[in-house]
Symmetry: C2
Subunit: 364 residues, 2 copies
């Protein structure tokens, strides 16, 4: 048997811009045309965004081929939606020199980002996130994915956006529960990376909840800086990027056990409290730190206790089946201080004794 080696050359570093402002939706299109002049554009959005007038604000009088996801939300985050989008692009005579514009929340960004990753072996995507969770988290970082008929995120790709536009004024049409739940990812960012940001959140939370645009812009800047730095250090989630899963190990189990009755951010809030209680058990933190965190989450109006109808056994069982589990038990991201993740032997997610987790769940 003879052997021949094929080298795959290094891929050069590159970068993309996140532009943040208020009421900027109407000026995004000319900027995109200047930045991507030769690309045929195709918009993916959902019925909510169209009804709220954001699609009209983006397009103005322009005639642009558009796919409106209907119904909006998780049920449409299915590979069949991606197939419909690709076929709609073909019917609009778009080819490999096209560009997809994703206008919407995390679901729209995931669907449109994945469609861009696989259309004709990949075309650029511009993300225009319109929810607190998408602006803080999912629009930056390049993770895309859709569900199969069997499980969540069965299909996906790492596909970094070519540009991101954040118009905080689009948050004005978001319903109160979604708005507040999405802010939990902002609290998470502060906890893992920036104590000054945590002080800012404590200080300005009333203004945030009143949706004051200048404060929302400041919030977006903090989030993008933190998420951007983590993604830069570990774009394909080899290790350090796992810190973004703070509160998510128990949070995901809670979300699933609630039958997705709880919003993602609401479940993560409970997961953050659980992580804080584990930190106390492991003497990584004192109760006063957790009290501070609990207060800010209570002020957001998200749950900080396990709902009565969720059984601890079921949560443990769900955690054993966590996709990141090793030998049927997941690792946990923990903090050693507000703004600093506990890192042991170079690992950003550490082992925690199942007994400790069981004890915490009972108290929760």
């Amino acid at each position: 048997m003879s052997e021949h080696e094929v080298k795959i050359p290094a891929r050069q570093a590159r970068s993309y811009a996140i532009r943040i402002g208020s009421d900027i939706l109407g000026s995004v299109w000319p900027q995109m045309d200047a930045e991507f002049p030769k690309r045929g554009k195709f918009v993916v959005t959902d019925r909510n965004l169209a009804s709220a007038g954001h699609l009209d604000r983006l397009l103005g009088q322009r005639q642009v081929a558009t796919f409106v996801i209907d119904p909006p939300g998780e049920t449409s985050k299915h590979v069949n939606t991606v197939i419909s989008i690709v076929e709609a692009m073909e019917k609009a005579y778009l080819g490999r020199d096209s560009l997809i514009v994703a206008l919407g929340g995390g679901t729209v960004g995931d669907i449109a980002g994945f469609a861009a990753a696989i259309f004709k072996r990949g075309v650029p995507v511009v993300q225009i996130p319109t929810t607190t969770v998408a602006q803080a988290d999912s629009a930056v970082g390049g993770k895309t994915g859709v569900d199969s008929s069997i499980s969540k995120n069965a299909f996906g790709a790492f596909w970094h956006p070519a540009a991101v536009y954040i118009d905080v004024a689009t948050l004005n049409t978001l319903d109160e529960r979604q708005f507040r739940a999405g802010l939990v990812e902002s609290v998470k960012h502060a906890l893992i990376a920036d104590s000054q940001y945590f002080d800012f959140l404590e200080d300005k939370l009333n203004d945030v909840l009143e949706r004051k645009l200048d404060v929302l812009e400041e919030l977006a800047r903090y989030n993008c800086r933190i998420k951007g730095n983590v993604v830069e250090a570990d774009p394909n989630e080899q290790n350090q990027r796992r810190m973004l899963n703070y509160g998510h190990t128990i949070g995901h189990a809670v979300e699933a056990a609630s039958g997705f009755e709880l919003l993602h951010g609401e479940a993560i809030a409970i997961g953050i409290i659980a992580a804080g209680m584990i930190e106390i058990e492991l003497q990584l933190g004192r109760p006063d730190r957790l009290d501070r965190i609990r207060r800010i989450l209570e002020k957001l109006g998200v749950p900080v206790k396990l709902p009565h109808n969720l059984a601890e056994d079921e949560l443990i069982d769900l955690m054993k089946r966590d996709k990141k589990a090793v030998n049927k038990w997941p690792r946990f991201v923990l903090i050693s201080e507000i703004g600093g993740v506990f890192c042991r032997q170079g690992q950003w997610a550490v082992e925690v004794d199942p007994d400790v987790v069981a004890k915490v769940l009972q108290k929760l």
Copy 2:
């Protein structure tokens, strides 16, 4: 509006091995287990390969989750097949630490490679090509793609294999027409890159057609070296890789105009003759060179003339809609000598006056 830049770091160079031998299928699995010890393996193949006994030779007594594409061939190269594969992998409890093994021709490699690219944001694929065209061409280089209900290769990704195993003994079960048509890509490789390889083909063609294993191994080594070098220089088809399209601009049009009655290699043979005639018109080559090329293709038993039922107008029309066309007219890869592509101002595909093309088609 404020702006924040996110850097996407460079990706390191890496490499993969192509191992070439005769009757090696039975020893591939232990090698894969050694190279990828912790990955759950999943085999994608088709009914022809299973019937020919190649699947049994690969697996031995091992129980391995397998997806058998049925019917084999182009009709199954559809996104729906990829969805079925992903759902079969989920039912087999495979996750992001799995590996797909593609055993088959170009269609199997394309389907399985694309499934690997998008399953759980990407898992490795090992390619085991079993046809002359896949061993010479498609198994190396990382291009994957499947069709939508509207057009060919609507979905796809660049996804380099983690390893390639070429067992030339698998060619023994290939039918004569497929075997011969697939050899046209070998002639193409010689024409664009290696005059010594062309001499070898002229010299050894009888042994190749008798499927003598040592000569087929030598052939595979030439092909992998040439294809590997081109892919290394331009992994994502920015420019130089286009030289692999020698004979393909007119060839693709002929293939489509025949309603895919002609095999890919058969259509490319006609395209290679057409390219040679264009070279004569442009004084890039003399008729004796083209005679040499025609003789080897005739000996392969593939067509070297346009079938009577194909109209030149239709071919011109199809070329205008070529996916690589610029301003509705494609560029052509031409050679200036056997083993050397004509490169003008750094471009490996050059403009040719439509009148010249029309004249050549009339003569063809």
